[in-house]
Amino acid sequence: MGPGVAVAAKPRRLATVAIALLLAMGGCSTDRAKSNDFAIYKDLMRQVLPGGQKAAAPPKDAGLTREAVEAAGTDLLLVTALNTGVDAAMVVFGQNGGTVTWSSADKRTVSLRDGQIVATRGLSGDLMSAEIPAASTIRAGAGGTARAYYVLDGEDNTQREAFACQLSRDGAETLEIVGRSHATQHVKEVCRSDGRVVTNHYWVESSGFIRQSRQWVSPSVGYLLLRRLNQ
């Protein structure tokens, strides 16, 4: 992201808030639809007013220690939004066939198939669904793959973006994740669509388990860093 985007984003957001104020005009109500609007209004005000949500930066690694990971007694996925640097710990929310949906406590989810992101929900500009290559190809770390990502445009119509990708090995790497080391092979996947180039990274253990990955999600979400904390 160039600095130009950051400059443009701020007045746009303020304009949005101004419009929202005009629209929602606050108020309180026991009516379900109206109280929903009131909640939206409060939420927006919190983001705009000084001393709001921005103040409390979430702790690194979602505040997790190795002891906490062991004590959790459940699989944990640490997700970092690289656009913002925000970390969140996620637990398994649902499983359907080969797809596992992980969720944070505040209802943001990432769905993975073979360690690859096939959907997100609750993020701003979700990946609705995806066509992905077989996990064995990723693990092999060589050859070409094809991907397609489905997102919604401003009118809620589904848009497909197809990518042609090239895999390559980037050598052995030892990762340090929340107080534990993991020996991995680093695999890179460079993907090109008509309009952009994105690069996915996978750190694969000898068993084939993807310990860590950095995957592109959608134009507005950007990249997510995924780290498996146990197993």
Binding site: V5, L23, K34, A62, A81, V86, G125, M128
Partner: protein, 710 residues
């Protein structure tokens, strides 16, 4: 008993987890297309400084401009109706024009322009325009104009103008142009179009950097009237300007004009097709797939249906999960293979999203033998459609590539059909009382004494759901601050003052009972809906209103009839009435053209007892935006109607979700009338059937089906 009791282990793990906080929710918007768009001129149309150009705005762009020079202020609202056709409404004030009659002269005008040629490597973009073709005519002019890029950053414009744009340096004449008719305005002045002296105009635009542009033009507007009345001294036909575009939505300009004046503009562009923020709601509960029959035959046993309290238990369990999504279960009917869930959607602007979330909750709770899900959206006690989904499809497509489209191909959207037997009703729905207090703002614009007046106050509202479809509701307002009471204009209307005494209602109605009514809604047949509303229906009228609507689920056409007997309310808006009463009503036809355009015709008797018809045409966007225009012609003559000649206006509807990214069913509607008179005025009744029903039917569901899995 093989019925499986349901658990709710959705948030297992009590790990202290930090939120993916605001940073993720408000991720920076993706790289915007920063290519400079065509700019707008002082009249609010695509152009140079005071002159038009041959280009257009991006399709669907909604732009507003404010420009000022030499005591002339023009405020405009323009809409790129199609990629080629655009319309502009303009409100202009001129200090010192017609000084014997006014200190400041106010004028409203409409433009239409059509770009008939796109720019190619060889040919320029070309447009034809009608300026002020329906107003009083002081801005009236017509033009043909061409614009060509010499380099990506440099473009030249040249054109020919008639009327105002043919008033300086004319070199020829096409017949004679009839004089401006300073009458009431409102009639298309066709006899003037492209008649009279012709003059050439033109200019150059240079985009120096993506943010900064320079402009120079030669104007063919002589400002004859303004010069005559001494508004300003036009010394030169040349204008120069510099414009700054800090972001795609905003542009500012400063200019040196006509050799004597300094001018300014501010331009704002909204793109209805691009959300201010992407939709972001809390993630849905995932689908819970059923175990295979072989691994868990018990789970598939249909015997649970014999358990007497099964429907009640299932309904309550599903309600608990749906609470988080603002979805209310009205009733559940189950057989061992089929379940019909009747729901109310209080939150999602996209009905498909509400349906998708409901379906996923159903997979969590319903026994495995239930294969067919029927989801029936209910609104005001009426069942308005039925979405039938196979559970196996929901399971198979949750994470499939473009699963939304695949699911739509297998879903059936049909009429709700008869109420199924053995419905388990949510007994908490009736009776139910709800209330609210919220600020309100009421505006009066275009009053020549004070172009903008407004009141801000508090509105307390309450509703009491007595039984399915039977609602008692009301609202009371109390002004806190404002100047609407300052309007002392006395209506000169010769018709019954059904709308033109608005300022007296504003002045005397504090506090006011805005509305107090009992409404009853019902399904009259498979595709037919009915409404009866009685009480204080709106600020100015009370009485009885009845409506019938025929709207098949998959039909682009709907037909309705409404009959009202109303009496005019006291100005104080208490419980009293005045002496005027009227029988008013309309036959209405609604048609969804399917290409983003929607038309409506209402023919019948209006509040002043006049007979006629209203034509409304809207451009509708799948995200809920609507931009439209309407006109009403009745048997009231232009003389009787008064200024403006007939009722007309513009309406804009913006969904809260578009601006905030948060799901909400609320929309902000604005109706802009250049003048409010008594002819062609319709009763305002809350909850007319067409808009109530339509969102939940096939067209409404399909437009936002992409969100079914969101």
């Amino acid at each position: 008993m093989a019925m499986r009791r349901v658990q709710a282990p959705f948030w297992r793990g009590t790990v202290s987890v930090a939120a993916l906080a605001a940073g993720l929710a408000v991720a920076p918007l993706g790289a915007q297309d920063q290519s400079p768009r065509a700019s707008l001129n002082f009249n609010g149309v695509t152009g140079l400084i005071d002159m038009p150009s041959g280009e257009s705005q991006a399709d669907a762009a909604l732009t507003t401009t404010v420009s000022h020079f030499a005591g002339i202020t023009r405020t405009s609202l323009s809409f790129q109706i199609t990629p080629k056709l655009s319309g502009t409404f303009r409100y202009a004030s001129t200090d010192g024009l017609f000084p014997t009659r006014w200190d400041t002269y106010f004028d409203r005008s409409f433009d239409l322009r059509y770009q008939f040629l796109d720019e190619t490597p060889m040919l320029p973009a070309m447009a034809v325009g009608l300026q002020d073709f329906i107003g009083t005519g002081i801005y009236s002019s017509e033009y043909l104009v061409a614009t060509k890029h010499l380099t990506p950053d440099l473009k030249v414009t040249g054109g020919l103008g008639w009327g105002r744009l043919g008033s300086y340096g004319s070199f020829a004449s096409v017949g004679t142009r009839p004089a401006i008719d300073f009458g009431r305005g409102g009639n298309a002045n066709t006899a003037q179009w492209f008649r009279g002296p012709v003059a050439a105009f033109g200019g150059v635009e240079w985009q120096v950097t993506p943010e900064v542009g320079l402009k120079a033009e030669y104007s063919s507007d002589d400002y004859t009237l303004e010069t005559r009345d001494g508004v300003f001294n036009r010394k030169s036909p040349f204008n120069f300007g510099v414009e700054y575009t800090p972001n795609p939505a905003f542009r500012l300009g400063a200019y040196y004009m006509y050799g004597s004046e300094v001018g300014f503009t501010a331009q704002i562009t909204l793109d209805p097709k691009t959300r201010a923020l992407p939709v972001s709601a809390g993630a849905p509960i995932p689908v819970k797939p059923r175990p295979s029959r072989s691994s868990d035959p018990d789970a598939w046993s249909p015997e649970w249906i014999t358990q007497a309290d099964a429907p009640d238990l299932l309904r309550k369990n599903m309600q608990k999960q749906l609470d988080a999504d603002g979805i209310e279960v009205v009733a559940l009917a189950v057989t061992s293979e089929r379940a019909q869930l009747r729901i109310r959607n209080h939150r999602f602007d996209s009905t498909a999203q509400a349906v998708g979330r409901t379906a996923r909750v159903m997979t969590q709770f319903l026994p495995a033998s239930v294969e067919v899900f029927e989801i029936v959206p209910m609104v005001n006690g009426m069942a308005v459609s039925k979405v039938t989904l196979r559970r196996s499809d929901i399971e198979a497509l949750e994470n499939a590539p473009n699963g939304a489209e695949a699911l739509r191909a297998r879903a059936v959207i049909s009429a709700a059909g008869p109420e199924p037997a053995r419905l388990s009703f949510n007994e908490e729905l009736y009776p139910r009382f709800s209330w609210g207090i919220a600020p309100y703002m009421r505006m009066s614009i275009f009053d020549p004494d004070a172009p903008v007046r407004a009141d801000i106050g508090l509105r307390a509202s309450a509703s009491y759901d007595l039984a399915p479809g039977l609602v008692l509701s009301g609202a009371v307002t109390k002004r806190v601050v404002g100047n609407l009471e300052g309007s002392g204009r006395v209506s000169n209307s010769t018709l019954p003052h059904v709308r033109s005494d608005t300022n007296i209602y504003d002045r005397q109605g504090d506090p006011a009972i805005e509305r107090l009514q009992l409404a009853w809604y019902t399904n009259l047949g498979e595709n037919t809906y009915g409404r009866v509303t009685a009480g204080y229906l709106e600020r100015m009228f009370g009485g009885v209103s009845g409506e019938v609507l025929w709207k098949p689920v998959d039909s682009p056409l709907a037909v309705g009839a409404e009959l009202n007997y109303v009496r005019q309310r006291d100005f104080g808006q208490g419980l009293g009435f005045q002496n005027y009463d009227v029988l008013t009503g309309h036959l209405s036809a609604y048609y969804n053209f399917g290409n983003g355009f929607h038309g409506q015709v209402d023919a019948g008797r209006y509040l002043a007892g006049d007979w006629g018809a209203t034509l409304t045409l809207d451009r509708e966007f799948d995200n809920g935006w609507k931009v439209g225009a309407f006109a009403t012609l009745t048997n009231v003559s232009a003389e009787e109607f008064g200024e403006g000649s007939f009722d007309k206006g513009i309406r804009i509807e913006i969904p809260v979700t578009w601006a905030t990214g948060k799901p909400s069913r609320t929309k902000q509607s604005t109706v802009l009338r250049p003048l409010t008179r008594d002819g062609g005025a319709r009763l305002e009744v809350d909850g007319r059937l067409y808009e109530t029903v339509r969102d939940y039917q096939e067209s409404g569901l399909d437009t936002q089906w992409g969100r079914v899995w969101q």
